[in-house]
């Protein structure tokens, strides 16, 4: 929307006395005949965090970040510089060093700027101002008190509340100005419970591109608290996890981290252009059972991983990665798309103005199948039912990935029996999904807590899946 661009101009450029003409001047000095791609990325973000611990709101932090990043790309070569100061001489000097990436040629010019109009997937609101400071403190205290009332075994309660108000304005070499205003909130509740000298922890949270009222509506904040307590109490009963290969049933929602690690990263355009991914050159090949269709969808309204536009000004898209088991496509930013002769899929993301864009995931999930989740569990003679995870990692070249369960149970003769301690599950990305033999009809997305790291850059993401049965996966417990 063009009024978003006006807002971004008012918020970022006007206070610094910077104008569209100045952008024009800087872009002119970035461009030359051998530059294929260039952008100027303005970002302004305000964020806050509040922390409750030991029953009191101990600390709050307020952060302001602002800066501009300049990039020029020639073939496979990228020059990059950034500055916190929005001053024309600084930016012209930066542009000069960045442009040196390419052979010298005639300077380029932009023939007038056009405004990129894209429907917004979230309101351009400042979440920090959706609740007064008094009310934020009161909310955290109320959660603390009510959490302690859930169960007398609750010893420690920690509640955190984070809000981010980010405004970006991107000028690209094609003469387009794009803007986005990205609110993001997150709340986490973690507890420690104690019984007969044994202590265990549990945590839960959620969020999205909303104001803070999101946590009050539908009693979400207390849902996180109840879930944290439930998890911790389950862990009090947990026995040693088994070790070895076995059938694994993954619950719906957050266990979709499997997709993020096992296949998602391996399908990012940069690794595939360079041939460093275990999935390189596999488009059109069968990489999953025909029950599996996986998408990366940046277009879901208000989701943590969603983007009205990505950090290169390309609208968020719903990209099919795997369709009925066949590898269909990669996630692309502009540079890798150009070098691979295709189009950006709106996955060009960067942590901030001080980082280069990379192809990154948004919300990655598997579409629902036809099986009833109860039937899936009933079909397992011996195995593990894993429903909550702490995180994961992948080596995209060898394809080996791990994800660490924080809530899991033994399955015996189709029935869930005892909870087991957290264990890491390890598998091979290109073949784990070929072992999927049942897909539930119960697709869920995670509650809005995912953060993905790549090349030292963190970005918010989402994951999701229905209940899945994987016939064979290595479970890294201690009980051999």
């Amino acid at each position: 929307m063009s009024d978003l661009i006006q807002q971004a101009e008012n918020l970022i450029l006007t206070p610094a006395g910077f104008s569209i003409n100045d952008i024009d001047t800087v872009m002119g000095s970035l461009l030359s005949s051998s530059i294929d791609q260039a952008d100027i990325y303005f970002q302004s973000s305000r964020s806050e965090s509040w922390l409750l611990e030991d029953g009191i709101v101990k600390d709050g932090n307020f952060n302001i970040e602002q800066g501009v990043g300049l990039r020029a790309v020639s073939g496979e070569k990228t020059g990059f510089a950034y500055s916190e100061e929005l001053a024309l001489p600084n930016l012209l000097a930066a542009a000069k060093s960045v442009r040196a990436i390419a052979a010298h040629g005639q300077s380029g010019t932009i023939k007038g700027w056009s405004k990129n109009k894209v429907p917004a997937l979230y309101s351009p609101l400042d979440p920090l101002s959706t609740l007064s400071r008094e009310d934020k403190v009161a909310l955290l205290k109320k959660i603390d008190q009510q959490t302690r009332q859930i169960d007398s075994r609750v010893e420690q309660v920690t509640v955190s509340l984070i809000g981010v108000y980010e405004v970006i304005l991107v000028a690209t070499e094609d003469g387009r100005l794009s803007s986005d205003i990205r609110p993001l909130v997150r709340m986490n509740v973690s507890v420690i419970v104690e019984e007969k000298g044994r202590r265990e922890q549990g945590g839960s949270g959620g969020g999205g591109r909303h104001g803070y009222e999101f946590f009050i509506e539908q009693d979400r904040a207390m849902d996180y608290a109840r879930e944290a307590v439930r998890l911790a109490l389950v862990n009090l009963e947990a026995v040693d996890a088994p070790a070895g290969n076995m059938t694994v049933v993954l619950g719906p929602g957050w266990p979709g981290i499997l997709l993020h690690e096992a296949i998602g990263h391996g399908l990012e355009g940069d690794f595939n252009r360079k041939g460093s991914s275990a999935f390189s050159g596999m488009i059109g090949e069968k990489v999953a059972s025909s029950l599996c269709t996986v998408v990366d969808d940046g277009t879901l309204e208000h989701r943590r991983g969603s983007l009205s536009i990505d950090d290169e000004g390309v609208p968020g898209q719903n990209t099919t990665l795997i369709e009925n088991g066949i590898l269909k496509g990669y996630m692309q930013d502009k540079m890798n798309a150009r070098l691979m002769g295709t189009q950006s899929t709106g996955n060009g993301r960067r942590e901030s103005y001080a980082h280069l864009p990379l192809p990154r995931m948004t919300n990655t999930y598997m579409l629902p199948g036809k099986s009833n989740p109860e039937d899936i569990l009933a079909s397992v003679k011996n195995g593990i039912y894993a429903v909550n995870f702490a995180g994961g990692q992948v080596d995209i070249t060898s394809g080996k990935f791990v994800f660490s369960a924080s809530e899991a149970y033994l399955i015996k003769d189709g029935k869930i029996t005892k909870p087991v301690k957290g264990a890491t599950l390890i598998g091979n990305g290109p073949d784990v999904l070929t072992k999927v033999s049942m897909v539930g009809d119960d697709l869920e997305l995670d509650s809005g807590v995912g953060t993905c790291g790549k090349d030292g850059q963190s970005v918010p993401v989402g994951v999701g899946q229905p209940t899945l049965k994987i016939d064979s996966l290595t479970v890294g417990g201690t009980h051999a």
């Binding site: 600390d59 934020k136 070249t397 060898s398 890491t424 201690t478």
Partner: protein
């Protein structure tokens, strides 16, 4: 190709300028009603280049600045941070921090460190060694490094490139107890990552070197060779069957094992009771040949500093002596919560050192005889509250003290309490690149899960 060297060096004037800004912040905070205040300000600059397949891939010019302030109104705390150092922004930031402190609640343990613990002696630790490398020179070196890897062995089939990074900056810490000090530091590194094999049997590994002084970096040839050697050695890796066996953590990953111990005796985890090592002072956590200490004042080391993130003076100190825990890892706040004194660990430990044993790497393998040598760990899988440990691993299967074949797609698991007690030996192959200095560590038994 860019000709210009990167921007002028950080000098004493930069540090002085930040000290002056710090003074402005302290007086502004007092003016706005803060009882106590602390400010940390840094500026830095650098260059990083990456070359891939013999060509420059990226050139990045870095220039960063940041300021963080913490104010206390009585026992109420608020903090704010920003990338802007101008006076108008500082006023806004102070006002935001004061407002947060207004709404935060009284915490009897909050506040600046005890004034008597603040550093008063500032030895020159030789941490600042600018490197006048131009982008052009850095690219040449990166290409040399990558070539050394690519042509090391014909099984090297692809590359993620080689990179050179050079940073220098200065950081000032000031508080309303009269502390206002800063010092410049540099960090230079070179890294290389290459791929071997093809199709479904690709492996990737890397190597890097890092130093305060560019002349202390390993040569480009060596870094490339190490990256290639490590990659080629992983080719043909396979999973092995589930079993219990000895595990040797190679020096490049054994620091993590000691890191989990430090995390468990960190004040924050102790006062929250989220550690498996509560009340571990004077307890035998390791076998009696294990000694662990901090060496904050080592010249040119990556983890050296005369004071911690709060200005508390650091000193050489024992953490574990003959396997027995001698001290925790505390900031002022966590120390007060525990009724103790800060150990100058706000912001972390400084050159944590595990006393080296007698055996070299080969002798360590012989000592293990048969078991898993781990050279890479992936995933989280460490529960500091319970000590439960389960991580993805890659490395080599060892028999009769000799490496047999590369292993991947396995996990190793156990409880850290048992793992620490069952350490058999620490090697003399000490890893010096990071903030934790330790040789390889041999553990008597863990559960390996695999095919």
């Amino acid at each position: 190709m860019p000709k210009a060297a990167h921007a002028s060096q950080i000098d004493e004037q930069d540090t002085q300028r930040l000290k002056n800004i710090a003074e402005d912040i302290l007086s502004e905070a007092k003016k706005q009603g803060a009882d106590q205040v602390e400010a940390a300000i840094s500026v830095g600059q650098g260059l990083s280049v990456n070359a891939r397949l013999g060509e420059v891939e990226t050139i990045e010019f870095h220039k960063d600045q940041g300021v963080g302030i913490t104010v206390y109104k009585g026992q109420k705390k608020g903090s704010a941070s920003s990338t802007k150092l101008d006076m108008a922004s500082i006023k806004d930031m102070v006002s935001a921090a004061c407002s947060i402190a207004h709404y935060a609640e009284d915490d009897p343990y909050s506040g600046l460190p005890d004034a008597t613990l603040l550093a008063t002696d500032f030895p020159d630790l030789s941490l600042h060694h600018p490197w006048a490398v131009s982008a052009e020179q850095a690219i040449e070196m990166a290409i040399e490094c990558e070539n050394s890897a690519r042509f090391y062995d014909k099984r090297i089939t692809n590359s993620e490139g080689a990179g050179i990074q050079s940073f220098e900056g200065t950081r000032v810490l000031a508080n309303s107890l009269g502390f206002n000090h800063g010092y410049p530091a540099s960090r230079h590194s070179m890294s290389c990552s290459v791929i071997g094999g093809s199709d479904d049997t690709m492996q990737r590994d890397y190597w890097y070197t890092v130093a305060r002084k560019a002349s202390d970096l390993e040569s480009a040839l060596k870094v490339g060779e190490m990256a290639a050697k490590r990659t080629v050695e992983r080719l043909g890796a396979r999973s092995i069957s589930t079993r219990k066996c000895p595990v040797m953590f190679a020096a490049e990953v054994s620091g993590g094992l000691i890191g989990h111990f430090i995390s468990a005796i960190r004040g924050g985890n102790l006062y929250r009771k989220s550690s498996f090592l509560l009340d571990s002072l004077q307890q035998q956590v390791f076998p009696d040949f294990i000694n662990i200490y901090e060496q904050p004042l080592l010249p040119q080391a990556m983890g050296s500093s005369a004071y911690d993130a709060e200005g508390v003076a650091t000193a050489l100190r024992n953490i574990v002596e003959q396997g027995v825990v001698q001290a925790y890892v505390l900031s002022s706040y966590s120390a007060r919560k525990l009724g103790m004194q800060s150990t100058a660990n706000a912001g972390g430990v400084h050159n944590l050192t595990v006393q080296a044993g007698e055996l070299n790497f080969q002798q360590m393998l012989q000592e293990m005889h048969t078991g898993l040598l781990v050279t890479e760990l992936i995933g989280q899988g460490v529960n500091t509250l319970t000590g439960d440990y389960s991580r993805g691993a890659a490395g080599y299967w060892v028999e009769n003290g000799e490496i047999q074949f590369p292993v991947e797609e396995v996990t190793i698991a156990g409880n850290l309490k048992d793992i620490y007690q069952s350490i058999i030996a620490v090697g003399n192959d000490v890893e010096l690149r990071g903030n934790t200095r330790t040789g390889s560590i041999l553990v008597a038994e863990m559960t390996l899960a695999g095919s």
